[in-house]
């Protein structure tokens, strides 16, 4: 019995309140209420947990000490990306995301929460402009689950059983997609052109049939190349009666063709690059968008904020109520989905980012990423025995480096770079053995020329 404990997070633990409230309820102790749980099911042991509460100062000291064992990308010069990209995060994004009202709101409706719905509607709108898509979901969990949702929509819409995927994709994402869509689809993989890493269009054509529900493409691809054939892939998919799903990086869309431009039916991706910190992979924003047609909108398994009229003529309500009959809150098992509480705060943050950059800033962002990555790839590729980029053609902000010619493995290179305070690219040797001693390097607008030069010098040193 812990009567007498006064805890700073629990207002009623002030002395005397418990007795008064129990008397009102008409019980002598709270244990009488817990008799609802049969005695044999009640836990009577002692938990192997710290027993007593700690002060705020003690909590801060202990956790800061533990976290101090980490080495951060503020201290290490990092070229890791692979789905978690280090971009500059403007101060305003954190300021707005830290507003108590946005941080702590949840299940209210527009009469009290109109502001967060307006902010989410604006995220949807700016994302719609970037994607050139008319309908954008408020937010799903992350880019991977967004792909899962897109595929799931294609299954429900077409009733077809085959899904065409690129052979070169993130194996982790593929694993999650198969978990989500395993019961509904047989995956069919399209081989890639070994020179460019892009989809082999002849193989694509050969693998399409009236069983194909959708063609799923990634642009940029997992290994950083720009899928320059997206418009052609779209035409081929549609000619077979299949849908086109495009997984894109929103940070690229100031310069690369948006999915709407090549007639994608459903677009998906991760909004993390839009001003959200890397946060050990934690800060994600699942982007999901579609054409404004009944078959798409009604199968989109997530909330959306829309504009509805109110009882006062001319007034707009920004509301998430035009939704509940469609997703699992309304349909339970018929909705066949897994998306509940998702990432609204991150959507609001990404909205601030897009508003700050505006159309010209998005162009600058895309351009800077392409230029710096191209510069890094060219310089690294100039080193003895190092091949970079492995694939020909334009890249966005990632590229594959092959160290085979140096006799070193990617793991050895990374270990030696770490000794020099550098986090090299993701080792993809196990994922794609055919690529050699390969690592996936990420360079963004946030890397300076001197940092890139430092990397190049260090790779030169460790591969010599």
């Amino acid at each position: 019995m812990s009567a007498g404990l006064v805890h700073r997070y629990i207002p009623n633990t002030a002395p005397g309140v418990r007795e008064q409230m129990l008397a009102e309820i008409g019980v002598g102790s709270v244990d009488e209420i817990y008799e609802e749980i049969p005695a044999e099911l009640r836990f009577a042991g002692r938990l192997d947990l710290q027993q007593e509460p700690r002060s705020e100062a003690d909590v801060a000291r202990e956790i800061t000490a533990i976290l101090g064992k980490n080495r951060t990308t503020d201290d290490l010069l990092s070229f890791l990306g692979a789905g978690c990209w280090p971009h500059y995060a403007p101060a305003l994004v954190a300021e707005v995301m830290g507003r108590s009202e946005f941080l702590t709101a949840y299940g209210g409706i527009e009469v009290n929460d109109h502001g967060r719905f307006l902010a989410v509607f604006e995220y949807q709108s700016m994302m719609g402009d970037l994607l050139e898509m008319d309908v954008v979901a408020a937010a799903v969990y992350d880019g991977t689950t967004a792909s899962g949702d897109a595929i799931h929509m294609a299954s429900r819409i077409t009733g077809r059983k085959e899904l065409v995927l690129p052979r070169l994709m993130d194996p982790d994402r593929l694993s999650a997609l198969l978990n989500y869509n395993g019961p509904w689809f047989t995956p069919v993989f399209v081989e890639f052109d070994p020179a460019t890493g892009l989809m082999d269009l002849a193989d694509l054509t050969a693998k399409l049939s009236d069983r194909t529900a959708a063609v799923y493409l990634e642009n940029p691809t997992y290994l950083g190349t720009v899928e320059t054939q997206a418009a052609e892939i779209s035409r081929i998919a549609h000619a077979a009666g299949a849908l086109l799903i495009a997984h894109v990086n929103p940070a690229s869309l100031g310069v690369l063709a948006p999915p709407g431009q090549y007639d994608a039916d459903i677009a998906c991706g991760d909004g993390q690059p839009l001003g959200l910190p890397i946060s050990c992979g934690g800060a994600r924003l699942g982007v999901l968008a579609c054409k404004n047609e009944v078959r798409f909108v009604h199968t989109l398994p997530m909330t959306m904020v829309g504009i509805l009229p109110t009882t006062v003529p001319g007034e707009r309500a920004y509301t998430w109520h035009a939704l509940f009959d469609r997703i699992f809150y309304g349909e339970r098992e018929a909705a066949r989905s897994f998306s509940g509480t998702s990432s609204f705060l991150n959507a609001i943050g990404a909205g601030v980012y897009m508003a700050l950059l505006g159309p010209s800033g998005m162009v600058d962002l895309g351009t800077a990423n392409m230029q710096k990555a191209a510069y890094a790839a060219r310089r690294i590729g100039g080193l003895q025995g190092v091949k970079a980029p492995v694939f020909a053609g334009p890249h966005f902000n990632e590229f594959v480096v092959d160290f085979s010619g140096t006799g070193k493995s990617a793991a050895e290179v990374n270990a030696a770079l770490l000794e020099r305070g550098i986090l090299g690219g993701k080792d993809v040797t196990k994922e794609f053995p055919a690529l050699g001693a390969a690592a996936l390097y990420c360079v963004t607008e946030n890397h300076t020329q001197s940092e890139i030069d430092r990397l190049v010098d260090a790779i030169g040193e460790v591969t010599r």
Partner: protein, 535 residues
Amino acid sequence: MTTIDPKSPAAEGAPADRYLEYSAIDTGYRAVRWHEKTLYEQSRPGSTNAILPAVEKGIVDAVGDVVAALPAAARRARPPEMPELSEPEILRHYIRCSQMTYGYDSGNSMGLGTCTMKYSPRINEQLAALPEVKALHPLQPEETIQGILEIMYGMRNWLCELAGMDEVTFQPRGGGHGAFTDACMIRAYHHARGEDFRDEIITCAVSHPCNPATASAAGFKVISLYPDEVTGELGIDALRAAISDRTAGIMMTAPYDTGVFDSQIAEYARLVHEAGGVVSLDQANFNGVMTRMRAGDLGADMVHFNLHKTFSTPHGSYGPGAGAVAVKKAFRDFLPVPVVEFDGSRYHLNSDLSNSIGKVGTFMGMVPNVVKAYAWVLAMGAEGLREASEWAVINNNYLIKKLLEVRGLDISWPNRRKLQEARFSLAKLHDETGVGTLDFNYRLADFGVQTYFESHVPRIVPEPVTPEPTESISKEDVDQFVAAFHHISAEAYSNPEIVLTAPHRSIVHREIHDYENLTQVPFTWRVWKRTHPDG
């Protein structure tokens, strides 16, 4: 739908709401109500903000115009039609939006049942925003992220202890995602045993909708059982009738969203196990039973916790949350990878589990929320957790006692004591006055408290009301909520029009659902602009 004369005091939002003006429960609340235009309507073409670093001349000279070099079909043809505004204007807009949002911190959010609205300590936000969390990449070598792995491992140990389980994954990003992970593991478990014929999941209609929906997403047929009218429980007979050699498992919430604790739950687990099925318990309602009950002891094989509910991480306007899944030893091998391990001196990420379902999302999940939850448990200690649950239960039972004095309101399963929440009904009020739960809720917004959660579907209880006064709620908060209910009930019986036309002092009025299908609702500004050329 009643249309309000826009010139009336009610539409003006009004000091003239004299039904409240002299009321004892008047909090003085007037919603902050900016006539805030969208960023698009405020846009000033040509405004730019120099946020990003310039590209160095050395780089530009070396690579040239890489964008112009793209094939035309791969290049963006026209700039995005996004708003253009200066930095201070953008901040002001979002500040106004935040002022028009009712966060947990803004007042009294105890109405939002099943949401477990509680205080999110600010020290936890500060800790999770340290560079040692924020500036970590998930693919860094283990030796550079020992601190974060230590916290994940510590939280794993605590959750195992609280749940009576043996291993944890933090990969799922929310409660629904956690339930889905369970469903995938159940599927993989039967597959590994060569029993793919097990294709049915049993659930309860008063379990959260994510249980049937995720079971169905994983490919199972779903059998929904209804609670007994008297006991609020599933009942052994109903369960026996549903079990067959096709039973893959049961996925249910315990305690239920009705606040009823199903006293026969251990027997259900035994029956499902006897039939070869798996038991998954959704612990979304764990807040009332911490340290009092462990799902593992009841026979559960797997559970999920919502760190954004029970464990205080902020709800974030609807996420990011985190769904931690805990399993018994027999299911460890089926977990998503990686799991965190400790060899006595170093922490490791193990991605080599023989039957792993692989991935359900990116990387290691919502790591910052694990840090926040860890800080919360540290601040509470076992004693504080027990105290918190006791207060969730005391507050709820006090609320029940007080709320049942409100005219026209009843409670479902009145013979049962409730734990963390209860489902009330305004059916009587509706029959007698024409005021339904939606009207009632809109009116509640006028009092400066958050609206309440009505009910998940199916709506077994007519005109439902589901509040949840967690341990963060004070007696005064409960009294305020109850006083508002008395006031609105009295209005319903004396002057229902004031309730039927509510809200009167809120940010916006009632929305009108006048569309044939969702394509007629603008979900982006580009569609709004196209369909409303005159604004």
